[in-house]
Symmetry: C2
Subunit: 295 residues, 2 copies
Amino acid sequence: MTKKGSTSRAATKGGDDLSLRELLRVPGGKPVDLAAHDARETPAGPRDKQAGQAAITALGAPLADLQERLWAASTAGDRRRVLLVLQGMDTSGKGGTVKHVIGLFNPSGCRIQAFKAPTPKELEHPFLWRIKRALPQAGELGIFDRSHYEDVLIARVRGLVPADEIERRYDEINRFEKSLADDGVTVVKCFLHISYDEQRDRLLKRLDRPDKHWKFNVSDIDDRALWPAYQRAYEIALERCSAPHAPWYLVPADHKWYRNWAVSRLLLEHLSELDPRYPKADFDVADARKRLLEQ
Amino acid sequence: MTKKGSTSRAATKGGDDLSLRELLRVPGGKPVDLAAHDARETPAGPRDKQAGQAAITALGAPLADLQERLWAASTAGDRRRVLLVLQGMDTSGKGGTVKHVIGLFNPSGCRIQAFKAPTPKELEHPFLWRIKRALPQAGELGIFDRSHYEDVLIARVRGLVPADEIERRYDEINRFEKSLADDGVTVVKCFLHISYDEQRDRLLKRLDRPDKHWKFNVSDIDDRALWPAYQRAYEIALERCSAPHAPWYLVPADHKWYRNWAVSRLLLEHLSELDPRYPKADFDVADARKRLLEQ
């Protein structure tokens, strides 16, 4: 193997030096300029679609192993759990990420919630009410397809609530996520960053295929007309709500294979850091074996 | 290809004549003798582990396609949904079925609920209360790992409620499942049938591996001592609660690959019968394309 080959191989395995977290993490408190981030970039990791898909497949076994350990640990009182938050413009691939990345895990340990426009009942409550009801339990991997961030994104762009209420929400979100972290939740927030052109291509593709029409909403075109305002709303949310205990990751997402690899890899790095352990037997193993053999 | 080869191939594909439903369905209202059913049997379908795993993999694409159609149809008002109920003795493979069979589906359309011993809060309610709260929504595939049947199984064997109450529950379950069917729920109930010897082997294997100790409960040995009573309780439940609209399937489960293939295949047959369709666009496609290209 050439040296280049070895490096590339290491970059797609678990026990290497690559930290995608460091590479993609949004430093909180500093202005974010999304236009300066090329959504077609593929920083670190596999270099093309074929290598990307192989790398994703290779991540399946270690991810499933870590998930099982997390679940097993919860049966002995370990309350830790993981919450993956997926945000991004229409067609950025939130659903595709659930399908391809979360599809690598044992479905019984995953708690997936897609947040749509709030129902009348949800609107009667504070905006975090429905979020708190959908949190992962001990040992679980929770996945939010959209989240409480909609309440500072569409709510801001469409002026659904007064400006001072929006301002308050950033702080409320930060306090909420801090309390989650204090309670053993590893919060992993991924902004799936696509370009304006890529979104048009994806929307047009949906129109070209009758079996994709159900995914198309005419309101997506109206939202697209507000692209600059949405990008600005994302910039503010990323700047104000990326904390060490609940970081935002800016995931270039024009390439679906890179997006899937990057989210998988971020989950691997976080789960590896948690390093959940199988609990020791709380019963007499030899005695149990003896009783079984006597039956 | 020999004639035998062609038959075997057809038996693992979607568009063939094989009806595993007919083969494994428990005829309701007739006495069931579990001892007369060999749990090591592999009636129809692939003949060995290698062929079985290939057949399961091959079912992945058609199952995911049908699931997407079911979900897509729900966005246009189709309220149909599927509920897979998994029951069986300890180690019969309920969890393994979720991992390997449900793992073939898009996790975002699956709603999985494992039912443990009822909590004090759940015990304050009728036994179907917690069941009704966990049902799949329109377009979803719901999966129950254990279910309301525990309330006529362990409840009967352990005498947790009076005998006349157990008697009433069969009728109540039948009425409940009829109401589900009337409301568009395809109920698929699988009894994972393992042998007494196979259970001992599986329990011993758990004891041999420290990374499996967390799955072991000493109470499993106590339950095993009540094997005949549990088998009898299952026989009664299968006899009294296998209806055309909510059939019980008796799945030989000593071979994990056969169990996984059979449950996948049963789901395929039920989903194929539902034949969900992508909804037609409820908007002007040409106009939407024009607006997008102008942006």
